[in-house]
Each structure stands twice: as C-alpha cells, then as structure tokens.
Point group: C2
Chain length 321, copies 2
DNA sequence: TTGTAGGCGTTATCAC
DNA sequence: GTGATAACGCCTACAA
C-alpha cells in the first residue's frame, strides 16, 4: 500500500507537507504542491479511509437499515436518501440484519436511518445516548439526537375509510397488519376513530400480515359471508392485491361486488385490472427528507419531527353502492 | 468515547492487558480478565472500528454494488449473499452510484461483489491490480483476483427458443435487451445460434430495454403485423409482462394468439393470468455462491469461475400451434 | 502473567 | 513554507 510516507520520500519533503498539498492547504507553494500531486498520481496513491476516519472521527458514510431486502418497496426510498447525501459529500450504505447493528456503535458510520424492526426502541435510545444521530421512519422515539420522519398514516387511513363510506358502503371489512408494524398500528387507530364517528357502518376486522397471502385469506372470508356489495380496506396494497386476485379467481367482480382500497400505491398495483384505489405518497421524498433531517442533526442543528403527507388515488376498484 | 485506555486506568492495569482480555487471550489470568470485562461492560465500551481496521488491515465488511436500488429483483440475491457472509463473521453493505466506488480503493471493505454497470472493466481491473478481491456477476473479467459467478444465459435462451420451436412456432418475435447489459448480449448470442440451427423459423428482432414499456411497444408491433399465431421470446420477464398486458388490453389472448416466454422468473409473474412461461434460476443461490467465492478469494484460495444453472418453467403462456 | 513500546496512515499543532 | 512530532484507538512482539 502506498501512503503519504512514500510520496514524501519520493518528493524529498516531509509527510506533513504532503498532507497539506493533498488537502489543498494554501500554505504550501504551488510548485511543491503540483510536484507532490504529480508523484501521488504516479504512485496511484489513494488515502486510507480507516486512518482518516480514526483521526477525524468521522466517516462521511450514512447507514440505512432495513428489516429485509425483499420487496420493490425500498427502491425510490433509498434513491431519495442517496441523492441528498451524495450532494452533501456523504455516501449511503444499506444494511440489514442483526449483525449489521454493530456498524453504528463502532462508529463506522456517522449516522443512521432506521426502517428496521430488528432494532428495539431501547437499543436505539442507547445509541442516541452515546451521541449517535438517528432518523427513525418506523416508530416514535423522543430523544434530542433522534428525529422522526413518519408517514401520515392516520390521515391516510382516514381518507381511505371516508372514501369507502362516502361511496355508500355500510358493510366494511378491514384487513389489518402485523402488530409489530408501527404503520399498521397507526392506521388501525385511525380506522377505529372513523368507525366511532360512523355507528351506522358495520365493520368486520380481519387479521393480516401485510403479505399477499393474508389478502387471499380475507377474500375467502368475505366470499363465505357474501350477501351483497361490500367494501374492503386493506391496510397495505400487497394484501389488496391478494384479495383482488383471489376474488377474481372465484368469479367475483372487484369494484362491483367487492370494492377495495389499499395503502402505499406500490408499483405492482399498475398491473391490476381494474386499477386499485389506494393511498399514495412520495417514497422518494420520504427518503430525501430523512437524509436532510439526519444531516441537520449531525451539524448540530435543532430539528422538528417531520410528517410525509398522503393523498387518495381513485382507481376503479371502488364503486358507489 | 471510552477506549481501552479508560478501562486500563479504571482497572489499574496496562492497555495491553485490557486488549488481551477483550480478545480472550489466555495469557491473562481469569481474575484480571473477568475484572476487566466487567469494567468494560460497565463503561459501555465498544471497540472502534476504524482503529481496529487500521491496525489489522481488514474491516470484515463486504460491499455489494448495484446499478440502482429499484426493482424487486435484488431481494433474494442480497439475502443469499448476506447469509453466507454473516455465517463467516462478515457484514454486507449494499452500495450504488459512482460516489460509492471509493469504498473499495480506500480499503473500507475487504472485497466487493459487482452487479453494477457504472463500473467499467478497466476500473475493476485497476482495483484488482491493487490487490482488491472481486466477484463479478455482470461481466467476464479475467484476473487472478477476480472471480466470475455468471448466469448461464446462453443455456437459458436456448431453452426458451427450443421450447417455442418445439411447440411448432415458425414465426417468432425476439424482444431484445439493452446493449450495455451482459446478460442481454449473452442471451442474444444463443438466440442467434438457435436461429441458425432452424432456418425454417422466421424471426423478427425487436429493440428492448428490459423495461415494461418496451414490452408494450413490442406488443404494438406484433399486433400491427398480426395474421395468425406467433411466438415471442422476451429477454426478460418485465418486458414479457408489458407485452402481455398490452396484448390483453387489445383483446388478444396470450397462450393462444400470442405465445410468450420470458426470462428470470421474477415474483411479478405470479400475478399474471395465464401464468408466464419463463427461465428460472435461484437468485438466492446466486448471491450465496458469489459470497462463497469472494471469501475463498480473500483467503487466498484458487477458485474457478462459477455458473448458475437455469431451467425452464412451463406456464400457460405458450401453446402448441 | 503483565507491561513497554512501536506502528497502522492520517491530520494538525507547533516550531523553525 | 516546511518539518518534526504528537495524537486518533487498537494490536502485538518483546521485555520484564
């Protein structure tokens, strides 16, 4: 490995002069500087990240932690994060799994964006106490070193419910999400509030796990009990697709016999016929916002929690009854 | 930050004793050792990655580089990589974009798995010359420090073509891929070979870019020229889905008027009706194999290039004519 | 069994 | 303007 020491030797100067030259310090004369730079290039010199990091106590790397790598869900989100970070001279690395947690306390990264249920709140608070900066996308966590950038789940669930009800639906099925999901819990809170406001609506709550399978299971239940048009709010699109597919395979017509609305507006919904009504938000913006907040935190600025707003997308999967 | 120096002070021993104790060196007596460990825990000591890395000249981190984060394509692949690496005490980080290239030469990672067209062959060979270990999934690259783990694209394309031809198709459309894709180029080579072997088959080559849109465009062309059952080999599933959707929307029946076969067996195809015939392989195995080969390379073992085998999945999108 | 000391590659504070 | 030199936190001969 070629280090500044080698360059110094070759150039007949001291290592400090080399360091100055490489870092563009104006103290060194243009001649020595360009001579040093030329030698550095000739020797194929590349600075050693570990050494710089050890000295400067920063890596200029940000970690994004995900529960898993599956699903097309994360593409735009990560892209949004990366663009902002790169613009500010930071790099993004994406990690998953328990083992990778070490990267944070070992100071391999300057901060983390968390969308990862394998972190407990306690663990994160512990990191925050140690002085690490965090942005959480999947929980509420009050700590001066932690910023929340959360989806406005409640508003979204409200929109979905109000939409179904405004279309005249009196009989509703709610396909719920896993209880360890923050988003699912928030959405359910709003669902219950809406139902409280509409005592005339008859709602059945069905278990769900955010996967296609539980949407199919829900469809089976709905069909078993079928005796006229009903509405269904699936707490995410994946389950809505499962419900859709099973219902269609049994000869039911979505948007007529069964009105369906989802949440997230994932890519996949583009392939559904009729088009799925759902709750939409910009994943790119979500990621970008997370990065911005994290950088502010790292720069020692005081930042408020942020919300990502959502809107209703009307497809053809919900019809008036 | 609490360092071994702090622990040493607290325990009244030297830093080397602390280091030995923390690393389980049997030279230090059980009593001192346990006392030191207790103090370390009490002080919330966590080793500093940069320092250890600087000393040991390794980070035990492997980087996977992707052209972009979009697409559900990578989930299983990354999962396969991660499992193998974690088992061997390595961590996986996923990177994308030009800026992240620096992680390799700056020695932030101990090796890299490349599925990223933003790296040029020259750049990679340069890294290899510097002593970095690489596994490439998206190109052929001959260098002792580089191992190839490639999909058997030619066999797959052959399977697909032979299948269509064996079902009696004499009129074929080939929806090609982007020319900067290694996989696309390899698949086309096999396509051309098959066509050479079957002069009785009339084939039309259509441009494609591996995205849904070019599948739709292909469908438009096919329908324009339609005068009886034809077969279509889309060089990946995304385009096959595009072709399928557009054709269906125009009232054509897939598997009857137009027989379609894709490549990759992506998740999405499960949602197609009729089910898509395609070429299948284990992405999980692909990732796992890449990690295994990289670790062998790092351990200085001599390793041969590897191929990931593919098989035909018969759906209902191809019928005999 | 424990301590001393040198070094990994940089940066940065001093002198000169 | 340039050069010693001391960190940064850790590991590891070698000495005691």
């Amino acid at each position: 490995m070629v280090s500044i020491k080698d360059i110094a030797k070759q150039a007949g100067v001291s290592i400090s002069t080399v360091s100055y030259a490489l870092n563009g310090n104006p103290k060194v004369t243009p001649e020595t500087s360009s001579r040093i730079l030329a030698i550095a290039k000739e020797l194929n010199y590349i600075p050693n990240a570990a050494a710089r990091q050890l000295k400067k106590q920063e890596s200029r790397i940000i970690g994004a932690f995900l529960t898993d790598f599956t699903g097309a869900f994360y593409g735009d989100l990560l892209q949004g994060m990366k663009e902002v970070l790169n613009r500010k001279g930071y790099d993004l690395i994406v990690c998953s799994g328990l083992q990778s947690h070490r990267l944070l306390p070992e100071r391999m990264i300057d901060g983390a964006i968390i969308l990862d249920s394998t972190f407990s709140d306690m663990e994160l608070l512990d990191f925050a106490d140690r002085g690490h900066r965090l942005v959480v996308l999947d929980r509420e966590l009050n700590h001066p070193a932690v910023n929340e950038v959360l989806l406005d789940n409640k508003a979204g669930a409200n929109l979905a419910m109000d939409y179904l009800i405004s279309m005249g639906h009196k009989k509703l099925y709610i396909v719920m999400g896993p209880s360890d999901s923050f988003d699912a819990r928030q959405r359910m809170i709003a669902v219950r509030q809406t139902l409280d406001r509409h005592p005339e609506v008859n709602a059945v709550l069905l278990e769900g796990d955010f996967n296609q399978g539980s949407g199919e299971a829900a469809a089976r239940t709905i069909i078993d009990q079928y005796d006229g048009p009903v509405g269904a709010f699936c707490l995410n699109d994946e389950m809505a697709i499962g419900l859709h597919n099973y219902a269609v395979s049994q000869g039911y017509r979505i948007g007529e016999q069964i009105s369906v609305i989802g949440f997230d507006n994932i890519e996949l919904t583009r392939y559904l016929q009729p088009r799925l009504s759902t709750i939409q938000y910009s994943k790119h913006r979500w990621g970008a916002m997370a990065s911005e907040q994290l950088l502010r935190l790292i720069q020692g600025e005081d930042v408020d929690h942020e919300r990502i707003y959502v809107t209703l997308v009307e497809g053809d999967s919900v019809k008036r009854v």
